[in-house]
């Protein structure tokens, strides 16, 4: 690049700041008649024909004279002709101010229209060139380079497809969820979890905007000739607080066609005050509208009236069956390795299936590809250590993370019932990524978790998740890419007791699934983008092995027969942009479930409840034999209509099928709940959901508001018969009962995303009712009347706030109020066998007292010197600030002949905590 061309570039660069919808522009044609005129005359001429006000330093321009005449010539050409040889720069802003400066341009931003038709850009990049050149460039907010993409001689192509990878310049990790768009016409795309985007733009010149939370916004000037690539590295936004963030484009809530998708990035999660200061993904999710938990010590969560087994929890595409540690007090995901969490609760993409309520998609970070770094956290109950770094610099990386606990001391201070308890857990994550070449990347994830505990008894429990997955991402061309993955997911638990030598036992449960997924994304054109693929999961389930434990034990080994099933699906969906305002997502997923042998299937008499007495036959099926096939189409429809830049309407209709069920008659999802595959006696659950939402952004898009309503019905939802035995039951179908469910609700959300003070308020009103009114199916529950499900909490308000005092200190306060969950309270008493006892009738007819909790946290960062070995941060907080004894359950128990009622709170006081986090290089 020679001096001349540099000068030329600067010369022709007129800038405007990013707010810019300027009333005047430099394409306006003017007449100019100058024969040795002064800068003053020249300015007058321009000002009289445009709305610009011209500014210049008269001392610098005093000696200058200009000669140029033209009729109906665009202003920019005029200025070019006048100033080109003089090293004079002109710049304008959106206040119609035009500045003339000498030697140096005012550093504003390029107008997108200015370059139309000019050939003065310097940097040329086409598809033949190695794009490494591009990604190596260190980004500023505005890149003054002009990127030419494609073959200049190709004049036929009107619509041009560009794609690429957005990465973090510092760590080399892909940036997911970044918005890539041009302003006019409004065309945009979002990067996927690999940081990849594809966008189709008209031929010609554009300003490509790239935005992602926590990273500097980027504007790139591009000239498109034909299809090509554009990789961009983004830098961290260290200055984000000082800059006035103008967020007219942060419209993803308005623009996205999917509704009911909630994305929280890990930074937000870490701000929310959490129990013992341990950032908790599952708990963060429960602050969102429509997501609830039964109580503090409960595994899992409930989405829009779905039970906790109706959530598909994916960690890098691996299914995690138990997302909790420590009775549900901690989530099983290490916050240090997580990048983002997405919850789909109404429009579930066709690529996901197998669960009725929601998909929680947790994506890990990729390791730092440039240098070795690490972090450590020390808290009152848990500690964690993470190390990451490149395996091959800029090509492959790893993260190894581990957490463990030393929580046993805690039990001494829990209610008496738990005093002699013990609990330990650990989890380990290993994530490696490798870029084979520019079109092929490999991702390997391994996740292990293990929990061991006993609850004041001689019974020892342990459970663990084990997941490994391998993913291959391949880009065929700019339009088509694929992700293939294969993995093995396992969940097992074991219960054992040796207290009574004759009865000493071990009970083991195990579920294993081998899965394969092939997902394709085909960008057809700006109007259509297709997703299609196949999924296949082979389940192997060991519902229970009951074995003697010790030499004296008389326990007769009892092994429930294993279950096998194959769930397959093929799907296709089209993201159809009908008009820029109206977008449709239409998809269909054909799912099928084969119940496979070997198995002995019980056959029951028709038309009477399934009981042991109505068992008429047992049929044996050999290994691999298909016993029964369920299946059908699942519809995934969604639309979005944008009224204006800040207001949109979205709607959706979804059907889902679920072939695997967890069986539980405990209040909360317990680690020892068993999972059961559908079989000829237990039908798949089928759910439909209609949803509609309005989205409105206020105050220059800094405040997002939304209202969503939904109506859902569920078929074959499994509830248990009174006094059901779910463990080691050889005919479990006689103890469960299929119910019909319906759920409906309204969710309101007000969210302030930027500024010193940010956070959200969500309010949900919802109902979930179940009904079993078919006398032929078994006992009527509550006389066949609808009854509230365990997790029905009609009113729920969550407030999450964060205030940043400075770069180093921020405070967070959150509050949660909800209606107490339903419980079955005794309606009377009776004396039996020498003791007063409680009489129960209708299920879930009463409610425990309402729940209210406030948490406070303060995060203090160490100094911000970039070059130092250790970065420390502290988080200090109080969980349950008001110390309210929120009831977890209310129960009545016969003690020494008398009935006593108790209210059990998991946390009866305010719990302060302090956590030290260390990051090191």
């Amino acid at each position: 690049m020679n001096l001349y061309s540099k000068t030329l570039l600067l010369l022709v660069s007129l800038f405007f700041i990013s707010k810019g919808y300027s009333q005047s522009d430099t394409t306006k044609t003017i007449d100019i008649n100058c024969e040795k005129c002064t800068i003053r005359d020249l300015s007058k001429q321009i000002e009289s024909q445009t709305s610009f006000h011209i500014y210049y330093d008269s001392t610098i321009f005093a000696q200058k004279s200009f000669t140029y005449s033209a009729k109906s010539e665009p202003l920019y050409k005029v200025l070019h002709k006048l100033f080109a040889a003089e090293l004079i720069y002109s710049s304008f802003d959106d206040q119609n101010n035009l500045f003339f400066t000498k030697n140096r341009a005012l550093s504003l931003i390029l107008p997108e229209s200015y370059f139309n038709g000019t050939n003065t850009a310097i940097t040329v990049n086409d598809t033949n060139q190695d794009e490494e050149d591009l990604s190596d460039s260190k980004e500023a907010i505005v890149d003054k380079k002009i990127y030419e993409i494609g073959d200049k001689n190709n004049k036929s192509q009107k619509s041009i497809l560009i794609g690429g990878i957005i990465k973090d310049a510092k760590t080399g990790q892909p940036v997911s969820g970044a918005n890539v768009y041009i302003e006019n016409p409004r065309i945009g795309a979002t990067t996927d979890q690999f940081g990849a985007y594809t966008i189709s733009l008209p031929r010609g010149k554009h300003i490509l905007n790239i935005q992602s939370i926590g990273l500097r916004d980027i504007k790139r000037q591009i000239i498109l000739y034909s299809d090509g690539k554009m990789n961009v590295d983004m830098t961290e936004s260290i200055q984000s607080l000082k800059r006035v963030t103008v967020s007219s484009k942060k419209l993803s809530n308005i623009r996205g066609s999917q509704m009911g998708v909630q994305k929280i990035d890990i930074k937000t999660i870490k701000q929310i005050p959490m129990l013992f200061g341990e950032a908790d993904i599952i708990r963060a999710i429960t602050t969102l509208p429509g997501v609830k938990t039964v109580g503090e010590a409960s595994t899992g969560f409930n989405v829009r009236g779905g039970s906790s087994d109706q959530n598909l929890i994916l960690f890098n595409d691996a299914t995690v069956y138990n997302p909790s540690h420590f009775f549900g007090l901690f989530s099983a995901f290490n916050p240090e390795v997580v990048n983002s969490v997405e919850l789909y609760k109404s429009s579930i993409p066709a690529s996901y299936g197998g669960r009725l309520s929601s998909v929680l998609d947790i994506n890990s970070r990729e390791g730092n590809k440039k240098e070795f770094t690490g972090s450590a956290g020390i808290g009152p109950l848990t500690s964690r250590l993470n190390i990451e770094g490149p395996l091959v610099k800029d090509k492959s990386s790893f993260i190894l993370g581990g957490r463990t606990t030393y929580s046993n001391w805690l039990f001494k201070y829990l209610p008496d019932d738990y005093k002699n308890s013990a609990a330990n857990f650990y989890d380990i994550n290993l994530i490696t990524t490798h870029e084979l070449d520019k079109n092929n990347s490999l991702y390997f994830t391994a996740y292990f978790s293990n929990d061991k505990f006993n609850l004041n008894s001689d019974t020892a429990y342990s459970y663990g998740n084990r997941n490994i997955s391998l993913k291959w991402k391949h880009t065929y061309n700019a339009k088509l890419n694929s992700v293939m993955s294969a993995g093995l997911d396992q969940y097992n638990y074991e219960i054992g007791s040796q207290k009574l030598p004759l009865n000493a036992y071990k009970l083991a449960f195990n579920i294993q699934q081998t899965n394969f997924k092939a997902h394709f994304n085909y960008f057809y054109n700006n109007k259509h983008s297709f997703d299609f693929g196949i999924n296949s999961i082979l389940y192997k389930l060991n519902p229970g092995n009951f074995d003697p434990n010790g030499s004296q034990s008389l326990v007769k080994p009892d092994h429930l027969q294993t279950e096998q099933g194959l769930e397959s699906a093929i799907y296709f969906s089209d993201h159809y942009t009908v008009t820029p305002k109206f977008k449709i997502d239409a998809g269909v997923r054909l799912s099928m479930f084969n119940v496979m042998g070997p198995n002995d299937i019980n056959v029951y008499a028709d038309g009477v409840p399934k009981t042991e007495s109505s068992l008429i036959n047992t049929i044996h099926y050999d290994n691999g034999k298909i016993i029964k096939t369920y299946g059908g189409p699942e519809v995934r429809l969604g639309f979005r209509y944008v009224f204006d830049e800040t207001f949109s309407l979205k709607g959706g209709f979804n059907t889902q099928r679920q072939y695997i069920h967890s069986l539980s008659n405990t209040t909360a999802m317990a680690p020892t709940d068993i999972w059961k595959l559908s079989d000829p006696n237990i039908k798949p659950q089928i759910g439909n959901q209609f949803s509609l939402g309005l989205y409105k952004n206020l105050r220059s898009n800094t405040i997002e508001t939304s209202v969503e309503v939904y109506y859902k019905n569920i078929k074959n939802y499994l509830d248990y018969k009174s006094g059901a035995v779910l463990v080691m039951n050889h005919h479990i179908e006689t103890d469960v009962i299929g119910t019909k469910g319906k759920a409906y609700g309204v969710e309101l959300l007000v969210k302030k995303v930027t500024g010193k003070f940010n956070g959200w308020i969500s309010y949900t009103w919802s109902k979930i009712l179940l009904q079993q009114n078919d006398p032929n199916a078994g006992e009527l529950i509550n006389n066949g009347n609808p009854y509230a499900a365990n997790y029905d909490k009609p009113n729920d308000v969550t407030v999450v706030t964060n205030y940043k005092f400075s770069h180093r200190v921020s405070i967070s306060l959150n509050a949660n109020y909800s209606t107490g969950r339903p419980i079955t309270l005794p309606i009377g008493l009776f004396d039996y066998g020498g003791s007063m006892r409680t009489l129960y009738a209708d299920r879930n007819a009463y409610r425990i007292p309402d729940y209210f909790r406030t948490d406070f946290a303060m995060n203090i960062e160490g100094n911000h010197k970039v070059k130092q070995l250790f970065h420390n941060s502290w988080s200090i907080g109080v969980y349950n600030l008001t110390g309210r004894k929120n009831p977890y359950s209310v129960y009545y128990v016969s003690e020494n002949g008398h009935v006593n009622g108790y209210k059990l709170s998991i946390f009866g006081n305010a719990i302060p905590y302090i956590n030290l986090n260390i990051r090191f290089k």
Partner: protein, 387 residues
């Protein structure tokens, strides 16, 4: 230092998470019939107790009197039970035919008929032994049994504990009322002024306690019909083993139905509250109201014989049992006003201080009545089985 303060702070946070709860819900007037007990097929007596369910805020036992209760065989043989006390219906020995099935028939005073399903006569095997294990925490009692036929499989036990109790303070004195001009006053007199001995009638008693929880056992998951299960647990230092202790355990063989019914009742009423406990559920027994089919009835009738075994354990068998009485004595000077004041709450035990010559009592020891008079705890009539 800072660290330890922080820890202390965190620890304090975990105190007190279980509170008493009183339901704000007004419970409906249920009054369902409760049929307690089981039919004894053998020569010993059968007792069926009829009660009514009551409101949650009224924990009283309401007996159902005046009913006609009988056991009816499938061969239409009828055995009547007689109401011995209100709600208690007895038959001395039914001696049922073990090959036949029987049902319980109840006609209440409001002309409603309740009937159980026909049930088989079951044979309860004898209890092999009662055994115990003593460790630093206390004494655990076990029941050992087996059924060579392997038919029993389901068991229930209940037990009665009896123990010899000695009052911590010997009682040598009684109050003597004085009618003075300033009102009624009290002084003390010897219980036995001639022999100067203590009142042995309130020194040794035999308190009795029945088990209140449902004790069940099953050998279904075991390779042989053999049981070694804990019956009860007594913490070290407990009064029950301060002298001599006895437990009489009764064993019943249950049908699967009754076992499941009682298991549910146990879960509903004894096993709730923990985070992982099952939710309570409705009970469905084998007794139905034939007059009004939708009316719930509590109870599950089984027919079996009862087997019992008694075990004695002496305090001397348990080294370092270390029973320490919670009773305290207080010294009160021997004057009318002090003793009159003590009369309100205390009972005299024995002399504390004598005059130097030994002729006069200067002060007495007093204690609360239940620490002097053992009949507060149980009968002072020695049980017939007591050695």
């Amino acid at each position: 230092m800072k660290k330890s303060i922080l820890f202390l702070f965190i620890l304090l946070a975990f105190l007190g998470c279980k509170e008493k709860y009183i339901s704000p819900v007004v419970s409906p007037n249920t009054g369902y019939l409760v049929v307690d007990g089981s039919i004894n097929a053998g020569l010993s007596s059968t007792e069926i107790i009829l009660k009514r369910t009551v409101a949650l805020d009224n924990p009283s036992v309401v007996y159902e009197g005046g009913a006609t209760v009988s056991v009816i065989g499938e061969d239409n043989s009828i055995f009547a039970l007689n109401e011995a006390a209100k709600g208690h219906y007895l038959a001395s020995s039914l001696n049922l035919n073990k090959a036949k099935k029987y049902k319980l028939h109840i006609l209440t005073t409001d002309s409603k008929v309740y009937e159980s399903d026909l049930v088989e006569v079951r044979n309860t095997p004898a209890i092999d032994s009662l055994s115990w294990k003593y460790d630093s925490n206390g004494l655990e009692l076990f029941v050992n049994t087996h059924d060579a036929t392997g038919l029993s499989k389901y068991y229930q036990w209940n037990y009665t504990e009896t123990w010899e109790y000695h009052s911590p303070f010997l009682n040598y004195f009684n109050y003597k009322q004085l009618n003075t001009s300033s009102g009624i006053k009290y002084t003390l007199e010897y219980f036995d002024p001639i022999l100067i001995t203590y009142n042995s009638a309130i020194y040794t008693c035999w308190p009795t306690e029945n088990s209140s929880s449902i004790l069940l056992g099953s050998t279904v998951s075991l390779s042989s019909d053999k049981i070694l299960l804990p019956l009860t647990y007594i913490s070290r230092g407990d009064v029950k083993l301060s002298q001599l202790y006895s437990i009489n355990a009764r064993q019943y063989s249950l049908s699967e139905g009754r076992y499941n019914y009682l298991q549910k009742m146990k879960k509903n009423t004894e096993g709730t509250g923990s985070v992982f406990d099952a939710q309570p559920s409705e009970l469905m027994g084998n007794i139905h109201c034939t007059t009004n089919a939708s009316e719930p009835v509590i109870g599950y009738i089984d027919i079996c014989n009862t087997q019992e075994t008694r075990l004695f354990i002496k305090n001397a068998q348990l080294p370092d049992w270390n029973f320490v009485t919670p009773c305290l004595k207080t010294e009160i000077p021997n004057n009318v006003d002090s003793i009159t004041l003590a009369h309100r709450n205390f009972y005299p035990a024995y002399a504390a201080k004598y005059s130097p010559t030994g002729s006069a009592i200067l002060s007495y020891y007093f204690s609360t009545p239940n620490c002097v008079d053992c009949t507060f705890w149980g009968t002072n009539i020695k049980p017939t089985f007591w050695p």
